[in-house]
């Protein structure tokens, strides 16, 4: 290692006065490495960390941003019923959507894994399509599916004997609908992650279990799940963050309505901050997301690090 480090500096050994000092500085390994990271540091510092900190300052100003009002915005939100409905709906939205995404992902990953390996690629390719379409555009498509006058979904429902469903006009059905779209969009991501994880479980474990007389369910509970535990945890936590912070689906399909019942943090912050022009109040709203996301992030990091160690 020392040898290599020495050869790095070889070129700068020529004595050339003050210039060589500068040149040596610029040829040093750690300096070069730092310079290579500089654009990244500037970007992350200026456009992620700075706005995050600035957001805390912004949230403590009044609407015109002329006066410091401390925790006034947070107190205001705290006293509003709508805000608590947003908290409730965001939680319901994230937890139920992630649960069903993980369930469907696990189930479909097993189904695809059961197929002969020749056909797997085709099915995998087909089932991932919802994830590939930009969410804003597929949300528009879903909105059209839910459209009350032409409703293609109700057409199918009636053919199967169900009564007409007010998909987006009834608050509770609207809540169901936005969750349904999120499950539709996100389940393929889980499918891909779990399929990759299933492939990494050594075949010998299943063979050994077969000899011991284990049935399919026992193999799943005692081999598949423990082997995939880490990747399931990472995927669920990651999806929890993304789902909790989701904006596109609700903004496009309901814009928070009917009666503000489908608002999640992101759309509520958008309505207060951008639509009504009260940036500090909007900033305060989105800051409420931070603690929940931070907790999930810490656990993900632990999982990823552990996984990195497991692999080697």
């Amino acid at each position: 290692m020392a040898q290599i480090a020495h050869s790095w500096d070889r070129g700068s050994a020529r004595p050339q006065g003050a210039l060589s000092g500068v040149r040596r500085f610029f040829r040093r390994r750690s300096t070069v490495a730092f310079l290579m990271c500089l654009p990244l540091i500037v970007l992350v510092g200026g456009l992620i960390i700075y706005p995050a900190l600035y957001s805390i300052h912004l949230s403590m100003l009044n609407k015109a941003q002329t006066k410091f009002i401390g925790l006034g915005n947070f107190r205001f939100l705290w006293s509003r019923d709508t805000f608590w409905m947003v908290v409730q709906q965001s939680t319901i939205f994230a937890l139920s959507a992630v649960f069903f995404k993980a369930l469907i992902g696990l189930f479909t990953a097993h189904l695809v894994n059961n197929l002969p390996s020749k056909g797997q690629r085709k099915w995998r390719g087909m089932l991932l399509v919802p994830w590939v379409i930009p969410l804003a555009l597929s949300s528009l498509g879903w909105w059209w599916l839910f459209d009350p006058t032409h409703s293609a979904l109700n057409y199918l429902g009636e053919a199967l004997g169900f009564s007409e469903v007010p998909w987006l006009s009834d608050p509770y059905w609207a809540r169901f609908s936005v969750i349904l779209v999120n499950v539709w969009y996100g389940a393929p991501f889980f499918l891909i992650m779990y399929l990759a994880a299933l492939k990494s479980v050594p075949e010998q474990l299943y063979e050994a279990a077969s000899i011991d007389g284990a049935n399919a369910w026992q193999k799943f509970m005692h081999i598949t799940l423990p082997m995939m535990r880490n990747i399931i945890a990472i995927t669920v936590l990651f999806s929890l963050i993304v789902t909790f912070a989701n904006f596109d689906i609700v903004q496009i399909m309901t814009a928070g309505g009917p009666r503000n019942m489908t608002h999640v943090f992101a759309t509520y912050a958008f309505m207060l901050g951008i639509r009504s022009g009260d940036l500090p109040l909007g900033a305060a709203t989105s800051l409420f997301m931070f603690p929940i996301l931070a907790i999930a992030a810490v656990f993900i990091l632990r999982g990823v690090r552990k996984r990195g160690r497991d692999i080697g």
Binding site: V44, A52, M126, L127, P134, L135, L137, A245
Partner: protein, 299 residues
Amino acid sequence: MSTATATVPSVTRTKSRASLSRSRRWALYTSYFFLILFAIFFLAPPYYMIVTAFKSDAEMARMATNPWFIADGVTLDQFRILLKNTDFLIYFKNTVIVTVLVVAITMVISVLAAFALGRMRFWGSSILATGIFLTYLVPDTLLFIPMFQIVKALGLLNSYWGMVVVYPTLTVPFCTWIMIGYFQSIPKELDEAALIDGAGHMQMLTKIFIPVALPGIIAAMIFAFTVSWAAFVYPMAFLYSSDQQVLTVGTVTSLIRGDVYKWGMLMAGALLAAAPPLVIYAFLMDYYIAGLTAGATKG
């Protein structure tokens, strides 16, 4: 161990083997049955978007036929109206400019940083790598309000150049993260050989690391492309005039005039806007999936 397990099934009697293969076949049929159900669920919305886009307005207004099929014949009218009477092509052009620039900026920043972090260890490099992963987990919906102020201060409000500045925050952290993984998987002997031949840092990067890690670079590029093509929160918050708008927001908001929803045209727009990511996915599926799974499996 593995030889022992391999020989066991061949010892079992032929009768039980036949029943085993029959139960396997049934398992396969059940798998296909459920997969078809899920495929219908996953593909019905895009299918319905396609059907709508190729339907005539007259047929849609009549509402007499099954909405899931085209009864009056396929028509390209919706696409014609979309391209002639709306600003769709402007949105498309803006999105292409923004996406190409963002992918280029992302790749330069993240390949340089990943090379330094993955290979050249310096003071604070491991903390920086962890920090980058954490910033990837910061969602855009947490930052768009302070970002509004920053974009405004830069004088880039209502300009797609503002998107070129802010989109890299969505792409760079993840791309750097997966590139670190790819670079670390390159054997150390390769760079030692390059050093002996007298190569500098940049030469080592361009002559060895980039060619060897090309699959990773393609995966990262696809990720950057899809993210900046699909970005929605930032343009929704920062852009409002038609000549600066990008595809996602333009299709969803500006094509809707008043209360009249021209659904055929909207779906035609959504399809055309979704086409580039779908085409890339169709041709580079393996790279796409490698990029998707890399976040959790490399670390």
